[in-house]
């Protein structure tokens, strides 16, 4: 049986994570330039907690995805576009894993353990090492700008499908847009 749209679970996770990631991105850029203050410490902690939440969500999402194949792309779509779409989705998943992981490792290397919502301590996978921490900070930032660029392409493709190709790609992820 091949489904024609995403399961409600897949849709919920997609949009929940989209909002969370855009928020994390904005907060990340904002907090980076704050002068040191209790507020900055607080924002950093919330960024880390929400980032770990995103990590947990993407793991859940991938587990769900393994058991639920997404609907096939429209047969009218050229093969290269289908490959590009799948490739892009894989890259997005990869970055959704790599970004929080790099944040966690960065925090360990900089000597600031991550304690999720002040309750659940994540193990420090790296010993304190300032230089490595600075490198991981750059990695975290670069991966984030990579994700931002891919999301722009992703959103652009979704909008093109909806407005130019006039297919159901966007509406199967956003059911209220369904025509008819």
């Amino acid at each position: 049986m091949s489904a024609t749209r995403y399961t409600p679970t897949a849709i919920a996770l997609h949009w929940l994570m989209a909002v969370l990631l855009v928020g994390l991105f904005g907060v990340g850029l904002y907090m980076h330039d704050l002068p040191l203050s209790p507020w900055k410490l607080r924002v950093y902690s919330w960024h880390k907690w929400a980032g770990v939440t995103a990590f947990a969500l993407v793991l859940a999402r991938l587990a769900w995805r393994l058991g639920h194949r997404p609907p096939a792309l429209p047969a009218a779509m050229p093969a290269w576009q289908q490959r590009a779409a799948h490739g892009l989705h894989h890259l997005l998943y990869l970055l959704m894993l790599a970004i929080p992981l790099s944040g966690w490792l960065m925090s360990s290397a900089l000597g600031f353990q991550t304690v999720w919502f002040g309750v659940l301590p994540l193990p420090d996978l790296l010993a304190k090492d300032k230089e490595l921490g600075e490198t991981l900070k750059l990695v975290h930032m670069s991966l984030n700008f990579g994700l931002a660029a891919l999301v722009v392409a992703h959103v652009g493709a979704a909008v093109k499908h909806h407005l130019i190709d006039r297919d159901d790609i966007l509406s199967r992820m956003l059911p209220f847009l369904a025509r008819r």
Partner: protein, 194 residues
């Protein structure tokens, strides 16, 4: 080590009933800075962050056979702090924290040392930071290692008692008031007492 000690001291030790092997009448007084350490753990947003002071001096005299006669004085170069990150190091020199320009050093002067049984003792004294002086007590363990005397101890300092981190930083939900201080002081035997 024991063999090198002049006979009269050894005799005195035996006379006092201390066992000959435990060097009961050695007074430890030569501070060994490179073997000693002064570290602390602060809590930021509930998360412990390690820090240390790289430069401090100690003047002390401690004879495990006569703890009541012991004395200690520590002088701490606050500029030698490593509070865990560059941001923090730049911040703590400022007015709200140590106000280093006006108060470059902190000091501790002992008032009493009390044996607690076994190798445990309690050090009491006056701690002065940022122009404020408070009584503090710190339990410590004394051991002899390789001919040196080693003092391991610590206490919880309430930073706001010394106005360290006032203004916006007096918000203890961001940086806790309690700072765990740990010291390890190593001292070689001083010249034998007459």
């Amino acid at each position: 080590m024991t063999l090198l000690r002049p006979a009269p001291t050894l005799f005195l030790a035996l006379l006092l009933g201390a066992s000959a092997g435990s060097a009961g009448a050695t007074e430890f007084g030569l501070f060994q800075p490179e073997k000693s350490s002064l570290t602390f753990v602060s809590k930021q947003m509930g998360v412990p962050v390690d820090g240390k002071f790289k430069k401090f001096a100690a003047t002390l005299a401690f004879d495990p056979a006569r703890p009541a006669a012991a004395s200690a004085k520590f002088d701490l170069d606050l500029a030698s702090i490593d509070a865990g990150s560059k941001d923090a190091n730049d911040e703590v020199v400022g007015k709200a924290w140590f106000n280093l320009k006006a108060f470059p050093t902190a000091s501790f002067v002992s008032t009493a040392v009390k044996p607690l049984g076994g190798d445990k003792y309690e050090l009491a004294g006056k701690l002065s930071i940022k122009g404020k002086t408070q009584d503090v007590t710190a339990p410590f363990v004394f051991r002899q290692e390789g001919g040196n005397g080693v003092f391991d101890g610590g206490f919880v300092l309430k930073r706001l008692d010394f106005a360290v981190g006032d203004g916006i930083w007096s918000d203890v939900s961001a940086v806790a008031n309690e700072v765990q201080i740990k010291f390890r002081i190593v001292a070689a035997p001083a010249a034998p007492r007459k």
